[in-house]
């Protein structure tokens, strides 16, 4: 074999080796390349919507939970310039209250869903606009939001038929988002307190705190017989405030 031919073989081997190395490098860093459906610049719809909606969740939760589970309280008392729903109420003295809001957990879920509906629609719209500007083709239908509360979490289901197309197509029927929250446990405690208020006229809040170290319950008694309950989780910072008026005593001897 001539000397020139040997050089050529070596060069060829070097080129092949470099190609192999290049492929290996590409293979190793492939997951980090921004492809449709991954990365912050071209985030998946789940990631985008989670971020978009997730910014609003704390604000919505704060409004709902600080007002007794409603964005627009109907039967309420104003305390600290805030309308707080009566979850259990009686206008009379010496009588236990009537539950005004059974199915509290369901009620809060509905409120969250209702408040998130326009936000989710807006987020989907902005996602579509942004990605279409990047060359994606987005088709989607109406967005329907369904919020569910579970242990330690809030689950948001977006019933959203959507197709994202760029190079390849991906179709969604619904998108599930999950956020950490201890509100379910707190609402369960509120339900228990209301059980006692409606049955016996009062509740023993210190016992809850004795068995659930993270829970703090404050009860403020007003002069008209109303009580403002504030249940909070000192670890997760979740809080729920509501009012009750049960087994109230008239001032003094009972004449008004």
């Amino acid at each position: 074999m001539r000397y020139g031919e040997k050089k050529g073989q070596v060069t060829l081997y070097i080129i092949i080796a470099l190609a192999i190395i290049l492929v290996l490098i590409i293979f190793l860093v492939y997951p980090r390349v921004n492809l449709p459906g991954s990365g912050s610049a071209d985030a998946t719809p789940e990631e985008y919507l989670r971020s978009c909606i997730g910014q609003e969740i704390p604000l919505i939760m704060e409004d709902i939970t600080s007002q007794g589970g409603s964005m627009q309280p109907q039967g309420f008392i104003v305390y600290n310039n805030t309308k707080i729903s009566y979850l259990c109420y009686t206008a009379e003295y010496y009588k236990t209250c009537v539950v005004q809001q059974p199915n509290l957990i369901g009620q809060v879920e509905r409120e969250i869903s209702r408040e998130l509906q326009p936000i989710a629609t807006s987020c989907v719209k902005s996602f579509a606009e942004e990605y279409e500007s990047r060359g994606y083709k987005i088709s989607y239908g109406n967005t329907n939001v369904n919020a569910s509360l579970a242990l330690n979490s809030i689950k948001i289901t977006l019933n959203l038929p959507m197709t994202v197309t760029k190079d390849f197509s991906r179709t969604y029927k619904s998108i599930d988002l999950e956020y950490k929250s201890g509100i379910y446990e707190i609402l369960s405690l509120a339900t228990s307190i209301i059980d006692f208020e409606s049955t016996y006229g009062d509740s023993e809040t210190t016992l809850y705190m004795r068995y659930y170290p993270n829970i703090k319950i404050e009860k403020v008694k007003l002069s008209d017989g109303s009580k403002i309950y504030s249940i909070s989780d000192v670890v997760s910072k979740d809080r729920f405030v509501f009012a009750s008026r049960s087994l109230a005593w008239p001032a003094g001897y009972g004449l008004e």
Binding site: G75, I77, Y79, N80, Y89, T90, A91, E92, Y93, Y94, K95, V98, V99, Q100, P102, N103, L104, I105, G106, A150, L151, Y184, S188, T191, S192, I194, D195, F196, E197, S198, T199, Y200, G201, D202, S203, E204, T205, T206, L207, Y208, M209, R210, Y211, Y212, P213, K219, V220, K221, L222, S223, V235, L247, W249, P250, A251, G252, Y253, G254, L255, E256
Partner: protein, 1273 residues
């Protein structure tokens, strides 16, 4: 002879003179003294009865209590956004967005309370109205919460977290999280569930990651999802596992755990921190809490805190960062002490609660009077997480704080609760004595009544017997509250006036003129200081009345005493002590026997006394939640042998150990069962019972109040004010004493007569009565508002009551925020109230302005007002709230004026009815049509800041005599109901007339003078009651219908034989018919359910409703009561005074029950019956008693009728095959005790059985048959 005849004549004359003068003198004596003693007693009794009746009617006629009596309507959706609210009938439509339903809530289908179940979430809510439930997507049931299978809670374990929820909640949570769940229906208490969560099987989950053998400490199921190898009860740093994790690198806390743990180099939790390290290494094995180091030693629960991290939150320690107060030997985390130091410097354990007061409380046993000061409140303090929380009890002392000390090793553990103050019951007991039915009963019978009243009073821990003992003749007892209630100082205080006026008393001191002058013969002590002191002691025990200090020590004297010394400084200084809480530190209201509270709601006495808790095994109630008594009781139980037995019966013996660890002082956890606020609040209905009882007592049967009752009538004191007391004269008639006095020394008749005549001329033997009076007024705060800012300065909540008690012009603002403030609303007020006479109240008179005030004139002739029994309503309007007083003289200082004009409360309008004085009050005794008398009332007023009018405001008028030409009118009868009891033979009744009168009755309608039965009448002006002057009589009830005729004659003070023919008494020409009708049939209990039956339930505890139906009697309706255990008879909660009474008992356990029931109708007919029934509670899912193969079928026999299903699906790795839905498996044939299904030995059958109550084994199996062999579960 002539001389002899003269002597004879003289002797006869002298004999005649002797005899006639004797008679004459006897007449004079009798006329002077008139045997007043007996008369006063009778008058006092009846007056007090009538007063109490009147008080009760007035007090309980207002809407707040009337609503409790049922005069309400229901609004389904109110304008303010509330649903299913009851409002008084007259105001309901205004409150309601639509029409109100004229019925109580329970009788409106849409508003009937029940249990709302959310089928999606699985949650249940008690007390929900049907319409609200359905509107929110729920399913409504009229059953009680505990009787609904879907609402039965069990222990749901998800990701090693345990939650006490319903099965549906468990399923839903697992679905949403996409994880497996385990549901344990056999775990029936929240505490046990919490403990279960801490004993989940954990171990090392080893897996490969990035070519390394790493590990995570987790549960088996979690490890399954990670596809790792699970090593149960091993920690990740165990050498045998050969992982990269290094042991015991750091210490720290772990979410959901109380303890301080070691952590390995991989961040995995290891065993509980202990030093030396080897103590918690355990060769790489999991060391259970119970086997870990002991944090406490002896009575010191934190003896080993520096070297042991086995904290226990319930016992008072939890993992936290170390600091100066909580040092540790290694690392940065330690078991932090959660105890507190109270304001007395005493150490309080975590969870301990105690009472705190603003001064003295309860009864001063030495002085026999109540001590709670106006404005004061009871508080409950709790040590939680190292912080002291202060919880106020209900204001106005409607709740009191009670405390119990439970002995534990090394000391005592305090438990406190706010509970209802049963002050109303104390007043109610007095009606045993002061009952109209007691009229005419003998002295011994009355004494028995008094003893009965005293017994009930003393038995009630909230009451005591106040003994008023001024002297041997003036003494009486009254049941009063220990913790006197407060009243609103800014709202209408007429109720307070009524309550306080109970202590108004009049004591007649009797003097007889003797040789040496006037000698006091009866009630002499009433003119000494003891009278005012004793009466004020009673006054302040009724409530915020009389001379009292507020809770910061400011005294005001709100009483009036005439003809007797006022309270002296020594007495007042003694009262002031009550505001000094330092003097009473350590005192508390004892919880006493609380079982009576719970009896009213059907909870048996198993709770025992406050200091000796009952067997908590019987207290698996209150839905078993931590907030209920179970939450309290089980903590106690866990630390005792009894509790260990209970836990053992639940196969949770290890739970106790896990819950508490190897603490040496389990009893330190003791909290007294039933003393929680919920326990206290359980008696919520009891107060309603007491009020209903009082209402019925005072309003009488079937009598409603006229709608237009004016408080001014009360203010005039026309109803008087006296409690039953055997008043001035006691049992001895003074007349007899006088007679005795005068008869002593009679030796020679003639001499005595001469002496008597001389005495008479000198006035010897004359009797003089001095009326000493005490008037008890509502307590008023000090003038002005100098002390407003002190509200809350003691660290306690500043409420409206406490603020207003500090000064007349103190007012609470910003109450709707978290920072209320008590301010002086009139700091610069220097002007006295301006007075305007309210002419509008005297429409039939003309009122002229004069320079000194006004002059009232009767239209026509000379303008003078004739004497009359109808009062003049006088009123003044002020430009600011004020008090007013009157005097007959001008220029008298405000404080010295004799009487209040109107109310002693601060009001803008003060009114007062004035009974026009008679001319005899002016010294004109004979009827003289031309007689005239001028009269001027001088008024001054004072505002809340203490500014008083300098110049008097005068109301003048002249009076003339008016002839009385009209006979009395009978305006009302007593009892108002004509129907009397079935077997009654004699009735004590009477009539009310519109003027003082004598009355008679007869069975024949004839002239007054011919009527054969005289009635006993109270004819003094001050004897006037609500309906007028009362005359009583005894009417025989001989037939089913008895008809009597009553006629009356006025002016009983007039002498019928008067020579003045222009004066005559007017008698009725027509009779008032007094009908009595015996009830035809006796009252009977038609049905009592349940009775003679066995009740089966599937819940523990169960709820039952006892229903009693009555018939006969007046109209079949009755008030029914029941007796639970040793309690006294308690009203049924529902249906009082209807023919169907019912009561729900919410905490019924296994056993045989005997419930005595007693019913009484309006006429006094009674019926009694006892309900006997047995209760069986089935709390377990069915068990298999026998299983066998029979011709290719697997047959099993259960211990109760049930439905069974079987699954043969092969379980996935880590699952046990029993984790399937009951409805999704193959149902076995048979629905009673015998069940069968096709069988193959090669297949494993996982079988579950469910009883008729829905009880099933949850995530476990009833039986597993594998290879033809029944497996042990």
């Amino acid at each position: 002879m002539k001389e002899k005849i003269n002597y004879k004549k003289t002797a006869v004359f002298e004999i005649v003179l002797l005899i006639s003068v004797s008679f004459a003198f006897a007449y004079i004596i009798n006329h002077t003294t008139g045997n007043p003693g007996e008369k006063i007693i009778v008058q006092k009794n009846v007056r007090s009865v009538s007063l109490l009746n009147f008080i009760g009617k007035l007090l309980f006629s207002e809407k707040g209590i009337v609503s409790a009596a049922g005069e309400v309507a229901t609004c389904v959706n109110s304008l303010s956004g509330k649903s299913c609210q009851e409002y008084p009938i007259e105001s309901c439509n205004q409150e309601c967005g639509g029409d109100c339903v004229p019925s109580t809530r329970e009788n409106v289908a849409a508003c009937k309370p029940g249990t709302c179940y959310d089928p999606l979430e699985g949650t249940c809510q008690a007390g929900s109205p049907q319409s609200t439930c359905v509107a929110h997507g729920g399913t409504w049931s009229g059953e009680k919460y505990e009787n609904i299978p879907q609402c039965r809670e069990g222990c749901c374990i998800i990701n090693s977290q345990a939650k006490f929820v319903t099965e549906r909640q468990c399923v839903r949570s697992a679905e949403l999280l996409g994880v497996k769940k385990e549901f344990r229906p056999d775990v029936q208490t929240e505490i046990a569930c919490l403990a279960l969560g801490s004993v989940q099987e954990e171990g090392a989950c080893v897996f490969e990651q990035e070519f390394e053998r790493t590990c995570k400490f987790t549960t088996r199921s979690q490890c399954g999802t990670m596809h790792g190898d699970f090593y149960s009860q091993r920690i990740c740093s165990s050498p045998s596992l050969n992982t990269t994790c290094k042991p015991q690198v750091t210490t720290g806390c772990f979410p959901g755990k109380d303890e301080v743990y070691w952590f390995d180099s991989c961040g995995n939790r290891e065993n509980i921190f202990a030093l030396p390290k080897a103590a918690s290494w355990n060769n790489g094995g999991v060391l259970l809490k119970n086997n870990s180091c002991s944090l406490g030693s002896g009575t010191n629960l934190l003896a080993n805190v520096k070297t042991c991290g086995n904290c226990n939150y319930i016992a008072g320690s939890v993992c936290g960062r170390a600091d100066e107060r909580n040092p540790v030997s290694l690392g940065e985390y330690v078991c932090k002490d959660l105890s507190c130091i109270d304001e007395q410097g005493k150490k309080r354990k975590h969870g301990e609660s105690w009472c705190s007061y603003q001064g003295a409380i309860g009864e001063d046993t030495a002085k026999n009077r109540a001590r709670d000061t106006p404005g004061s409140r009871h508080f409950r303090e709790v040590c939680i997480n190292g912080e002291i929380r202060t919880e106020p009890c209900a204001d106005y002392r409607n709740e009191i704080c009670v405390e119990a000390q439970t002995p534990i090793q090394g000391g005592k553990f305090s438990s406190a609760a706010c509970r209802i103050n049963k002050w109303q019951q104390c007043f109610d007991y007095n009606s045993i004595v002061n009952n109209p039915e007691n009229k005419g009963i003998g002295k011994s019978a009355m004494q028995a009544k008094s003893n009965q009243r005293d017994l009930k009073c003393e038995e009630n821990t909230d009451c005591f017997v106040k003994e008023v003992k001024v002297g041997k003749d003036f003494k009486f007892d009254y049941c009063v509250p220990k913790y006197s209630p407060g009243f609103s100082l800014s709202q209408r205080g007429e109720g307070a006036e009524i309550i306080c006026r109970q202590a108004n008393q009049k004591c007649t001191v009797v003097y007889v003129k003797g040789l040496g002058g006037w000698d006091c013969k009866a009630n002499c002590e009433c003119e000494k200081k003891i009278f005012a002191e004793q009466m004020n002691d009673l006054c302040m025990s009724l409530g915020d009345c009389g001379a009292e200090v507020n809770y910061i020590g400011d005294l005001t004297e709100n009483y009036k005493v005439k003809k007797s010394p006022k309270l002296n400084s020594a007495y007042l200084e003694n009262i002031k002590r009550y505001a000094n809480e330092k003097l009473f530190k350590g005192e508390y209201a004892d919880a006493g026997d609380i079982s009576e509270f719970f009896a009213t709601l059907g909870i048996p006495e198993g709770l025992g006394s406050a200091s000796t808790p009952g067997d908590p095994a019987a207290q698996f109630g209150m839905a078993g939640t931590v907030a209920g008594m179970m939450g309290v009781a089980l903590v106690w139980a866990a630390g005792t042998a009894t509790g260990a037995g209970i836990l053992g019966s639940l196969s949770l013996a290890h739970v106790g150990a896990e819950l508490l660890g190897p603490t040496t002082n389990g009893a330190a956890l003791t909290v007294n069962p039933g003393l929680s606020a919920a326990g206290g609040a359980l008696a919520g209905a009891a107060i309603g019972f007491a009020l209903t009882s009082l209402l019925l007592q005072f309003t009488g049967v079937g009598r409603g109040l006229p709608p237009a009752i004016t408080y001014s009538l009360l203010a005039a004191g026309t109803a008087g004010g006296a409690i039953a007391g055997f008043g001035a004269m006691g049992g001895s008639a003074f007349g007899a004493a006088a007679g005795t006095l005068l008869t002593i020394g009679i030796i020679i008749v003639v001499v005595v007569i001469i002496v008597i005549v001389i005495f008479k001329a000198l006035g010897i033997g004359e009797v003089k009565k001095v009326k000493v009076t005490f008037e008890c007024k509502p307590w008023q705060p000090p003038r002005g508002g100098a002390d407003c800012a002190k509200c809350g300065s003691d660290g306690k909540t500043c409420s409206r009551y406490s603020c207003e008690s500090l000064g007349q012009t103190c007012q609470l603002i910003n109450e709707e925020t978290g920072t209320p403030e008590c301010i002086d609303i009139s700091p610069n007020d220097a002007a006295a109230p301006s007075i305007r006479f309210m002419k509008e109240l005297l429409a039939n008179y003309s009122v002229e302005e004069t320079e000194f005030g006004v002059r009232i004139k009767q239209p026509g002739s000379d303008g003078c007002i004739p004497e009359s029994y109808e009062p003049l309503i006088l009123g003044v309007a002020l430009d600011e709230p004020g008090q007013c007083r009157i005097s007959n003289s001008t220029g008298v200082a405000f404080e010295e004026m004799e009487s209040d004009f109107g109310s002693s409360l601060f009001k803008r309008n003060q009114t007062m009815p004035l009974l026009t004085p008679s001319l005899s009050d002016f010294g004109l005794e004979s009827f003289n049509p031309n007689a005239r008398a001028e009269y001027v009332l001088h008024i001054k007023c004072q505002d809340k800041s203490g500014n008083t009018n300098i110049k008097d405001y005068g109301i003048g008028f002249c009076i003339k005599q008016g002839p009385d030409t009209t006979p009395p009118i009978v305006v009302e009868r007593e009892p108002s109901l004509t129907t009397v009891a079935y077997n009654l033979t004699m009735l004590n009744g009477g009539v009310y007339t519109n003027e003082p009168a004598d009355c008679r009755w007869d069975s024949i309608d004839r002239d007054y003078s011919l009527m054969s039965h005289e009635m006993s009448c109270e004819n003094d002006f001050e004897d006037r009651q609500l309906f007028g002057w009362f005359c009583s009589g005894e009417f025989p009830v001989t037939e089913n219908t008895s008809k009597y005729y009553v006629r009356c004659q006025d002016q009983p003070w007039l002498n019928v034989s008067s020579q003045n023919t222009t004066i005559h008494r007017n008698a009725n020409s027509q009779s008032y018919t007094y009908n009595l009708q015996r009830t035809i049939n006796p009252l009977i209990i038609e049905s009592l359910v349940p009775n003679n039956e066995t009740l089966n339930f599937g819940t523990i505890p169960a709820s039952i409703e006892v229903v009693v139906k009555t018939s006969g009697g007046v109209d079949g309706s009755a008030r029914c009561t029941y007796k639970w255990g040793n309690s006294s008879y308690i009203d049924f909660a529902e249906g009082l005074w209807t023919s169907t009474n019912s009561q729900i008992f919410q905490t019924i356990y296994d056993g045989i029950y005997s419930l005595p029931v007693r019913c009484e109708d309006l006429a006094g007919n009674t019926a009694e019956k006892t309900a006997r029934f047995k209760v069986n509670l089935d709390s377990e899912s069915p068990k298999v008693t026998r299983v066998y193969e029979n011709g290719g079928s697997l047959t099993l026999i259960t211990d109760e009728p049930s439905v069974c299903t079987a699954s043969t699906a092969v379980p996935s790795r880590g699952a046990n095959g029993c984790d399937y839905e009951f409805a999704n498996a193959t149902e076995m044939s048979g629905s009673e005790l015998v069940h069968s299904i096709g069988f193959s030995r090669a297949i494993t059958h996982y079988i579950k059985c469910k009883d008729k109550f829905g009880r099933n084994p949850g995530s476990a199996c009833t039986i597993i048959v594998k290879g033809g062999v029944a497996q042990e579960l």
